[in-house]
Amino acid sequence: MSQTQHGSTDGTLAQRPGLPEHAPQIEGTTAAPTLFENPGLPPHVHRLADTDPKAAKRAERQVAALFTLSILGTLVFLVSYFAVDPQTPVYIPLIGRTLLQNFLLGLGMGCGIFFIGIGAVHWAKTLMPDEEVVEERHYLRSTAADRDGAVQALQQGGEESGIGRRPLIKATAAGALGLFGLPFIVALRDLGPLPGDRLSRTMWKAGMRLVSDPEYAPIKVEDVTIGSVFHVMPEGIDKVHDKLEQKAKAAVLLMRLDPADIKSTKQKAWGYQGIVAYSKICTHVGCPVGLYEQQTHHLLCPCHQSTFDVTEDCKVIFGPAHRPLPQLPITVDTEGYLVASSPFHEAVGPSFPERGHR
């Protein structure tokens, strides 16, 4: 490391001695280095604080003031933590209503930390030496002797172990080392059960009532007016132990259309007087298809904008989904409540590899 040799500012760039006029490429590469000579560092320009003691004193006071602000900030945090009521609201312009304590804690902690940084940087920039220092680099590559030594040490170790002369040890050691990790992979098996056919089944059974979500109230035909939409669950879903898991599969949307608008005969047959029920779980990645456009009878998934046309058996008319939403066949029980007339006829929700096997 040495203090810098400063070059001059007059004159022009000089050519590196002993080089031709046209830059030659390094053999086997695309690169041709510059032909000019590096002129060296420009002369150092001193700062005001280096030459004027008054400026230095002023900088010192500024740094001290910044550190003092930090101390004050930390005090604000401590006082607000103990002395300010946590429930008192306050209105701060540009932020809106917030809790006074939270605001003061953040402000205090922020100042306590921030001004240390500003103070230290200001100190470094105004008062610490700003003359650049040059440090030499060294090649990372080891000397040839060290490299040979390393290879020799490795070879000698290999020979002394005798692994080359004792194939039995070599083979069994390789086998043992190759196998000993297996238990840790096999033990991952019990992370979860095999999928079985659970992805293809939902709670829905023939005769099960449709109940509204989240009130869990059964739904009568006359409750469902044209243009209305109900978020529906199977009756009794609030009683099962795996409620969220069942909800994630069984959620259904119930809509009533003018029967004349329905273009699919299967859709009409599986519905009841224009009332149709479709799985609410998107066939793309499984978001709930929550947006119903009353005028066009389109269902839109808010996650990735797959759009389904309810008048055409919920076929995909836009977006990344591929399959239509599965329809739940419904009918009416003796008391006039809507019930499922059978389970879903296909797996609901996002695609999975074996979904076509059923």
Partner: protein
């Protein structure tokens, strides 16, 4: 030697430690270690400091967070949710926000810091890429850095999934859909990850241990190696007068960098605290607990997941099909699995590809100015364009609602744009770089326009050009010229193909792609010629010339 009590205590302790560790030798060398100064070197520092802030605030959060999906009923002080069923994870996150003094602040610092962490890693990577800092001997550190970036993404996703609110649950159902799209084994992987049916109760504790132990341990371990390699290699520096491949010019660790970099830690921390004080982030109480059946419109993941979200939104549905009864959902798998895989492999491979094309085996400690590597800069800009387009695809619903445009038009436009626009960006960026190189040549050969107009005795007006100082000129001529390799001849005289020429041909073709369009830097001969019959003299020469002309009475 200090004789005060304090001095003796410090000296005694230092001596005690040195006699047992020999640390003085390392300190003597380390404390005077030189770091070059440049604003762009602070980007990596922001990432480093954010990691520290994350570890600190994250530790505090673990004191109160309960990583359990077990059901409970909320009884805390946030009125709108009182009596609502929710998981312990969500309940405890609400408690951190409402019952623990300063808890909300710590949570917000943690979240803001996580966003800053990933953002600063990304921008730091851009800096390293565009300046060629990944070249020998730093290829290994590029690979480590990329691994750190990937870990940071996973860590961030695991973290924001933990509170089990409606938004994070929607994110998890998205992740589950991606897992299900893995060909053949998707349902098995999903069942193992979630411990059975989705959402299940197994995932939150598993995510928690990954988030607070497994990934942080990897992050910290790899980060230590990353920074040790930086110290070993010594930092790169921008080219300039006095800076060479054999030296490093800057300020010593003690005292200047201790104050500057140490101070910068406090600045980053302080700014993060201010952000968390003034700007609300992830208000989980507004989303409600996770329930798989409702969803909110405008659901958005944290910014760094936006590009994958965009890919998922843009891929058309017909990429799902059945073969022998097996369903293949490439409309999801391409975006969720193939694309991040390809991008990662491309990024990992780039330094090795470029080194192969240039054949350059030298160590590089001087950075490239991006304009002097037009093809690399173009490729980088192309990658950024691709990323940004996918990212905006992830926000297509927000664009549609904010600008009152059709979601279908935006989606269809972006489907084409992600393929068409990046190559255009590549070409334009490369042309801009070449233009800037030509400008550099002009500056060196003809000097700087001074803005002063001089009228010559015969009536001609000229603008005086002032020559650059040697230091300024050096900046513009110091770089390597790269020229494409000659195409090897494919066959010998008898029409027999030579062995090994296939790889050579590919290499030569790639070198043409890289360096065919180029601007040669100024050579000393050109500079001398420009000075000799220059029409743009320095103003002093101009004066003597004019005086001569006046004296000889030619006008």
């Amino acid at each position: 030697m200090s004789t005060s009590l304090g001095g003796r205590v410090v000296g005694g302790t230092a001596s005690y430690i040195d006699e047992r560790t020999g640390a003085a030798k390392a300190m003597r060398y380390g404390l005077r270690k030189v770091f070059p100064d440049h604003w762009s070197f602070m980007l990596g520092e922001i990432a480093m400091y954010s990691l520290v802030i994350l570890l600190l605030t994250g530790t505090f959060l673990t004191f109160w967070f309960v990583p359990s999906a077990a059901e409970t009923v909320y009884t805390g002080s946030y009125g709108p949710l009182r009596g609502v069923e929710m998981s312990e994870a969500y309940r405890s996150t609400l408690d951190i926000s409402y019952e623990i003094r300063g808890g909300l602040l710590l949570r917000q610092i943690h979240h803001w810091s996580a966003l800053l962490f990933v953002a600063s890693i990304a921008v730091h990577m851009f800096r390293v890429f565009f300046t060629g800092a990944f070249r020998k001997p730093r290829e290994i550190n590029w690979v480590i850095g990329l691994t750190l970036a990937l870990l940071a993404l996973i860590e961030g996703f695991a973290g924001y999934s933990l509170p089990d609110d409606l938004l994070s649950g929607t994110g998890l159902s998205f992740a589950r859909g991606m897992i299900l799209s893995i060909p053949i084994v998707g349902s098995y992987v999903s069942s193992f990850v979630f411990g059975g049916d989705y959402p299940g109760e197994a995932l939150i504790p598993r995510l928690f241990i990954a988030h607070v132990l497994l990934i942080p341990a990897l992050l910290v371990g790899l980060f230590v190696v990353h920074i040790m390699l930086v110290a070993l290699h010594k930092h790169t520096q921008y080219p300039g007068p006095g800076r060479t491949e054999q030296n490093v010019v800057g300020y010593p660790l003690m005292p200047v960098y201790t104050a500057k970099a140490g101070g910068f830690f406090f600045i980053v921390f302080g700014v993060t605290v201010f952000l968390s004080t003034f700007a609300m982030i992830n208000p989980i109480w507004a989303y409600g607990p996770y329930d798989p059946s409702p969803v909110t419109a405008g659901s958005q993941p944290d910014w760094y997941m936006g590009w994958l979200e965009g890919a998922i939104r843009l891929l058309p549905g017909w990429l799902e099909f059945q073969v022998f009864g097996w369903t293949f959902s490439f409309n999801i798998a391409i975006g969720g699995l193939v694309l991040p895989g390809l991008v990662t492999v491309a990024a990992f491979m780039y330094p090795f590809l470029e080194a192969w094309v240039t054949g350059d085996k030298r160590e590089h400690h001087l950075l490239d100015r991006p304009r002097n590597a037009p093809t690399r800069t173009g490729l980088g800009a192309m990658a950024i364009a691709f990323y940004v387009l996918l990212w905006s695809g992830g926000g297509n619903d927000l664009i549609a609602t904010h600008f009152r445009t059709s979601i279908n038009d935006i989606t269809n436009f972006l489907r084409i744009a992600v393929i068409v626009i990046p190559p255009i960006v590549y070409v334009v960026t490369k042309r801009i770089c070449l233009g800037l190189q030509r400008r550099d040549r002009d500056l060196v050969l003809h000097g700087m326009e001074s803005g002063r107009i001089v009228r010559l005795p015969h009536g001609e007006f000229i603008e005086v050009h002032e020559p650059l100082s040697p230091q300024d000129a050096w900046q513009l001529v110091q770089h390597d010229a790269h020229r494409p390799l000659p195409l090897p001849e494919g066959a010998d005289g008898n029409g027999v193909r030579r062995p090994g020429t296939r790889a050579q041909r590919i290499r030569a073709k790639l070198s043409h792609f890289w360096f065919e369009d180029r601007v040669e830097p100024v050579s000393p001969a050109e500079l001398a010629a420009a000075h000799a019959h220059g029409d743009h003299h320095a103003v002093t020469e101009e004066h003597t010339e004019m005086q001569k002309q006046l004296q000889t009475g030619r006008h």
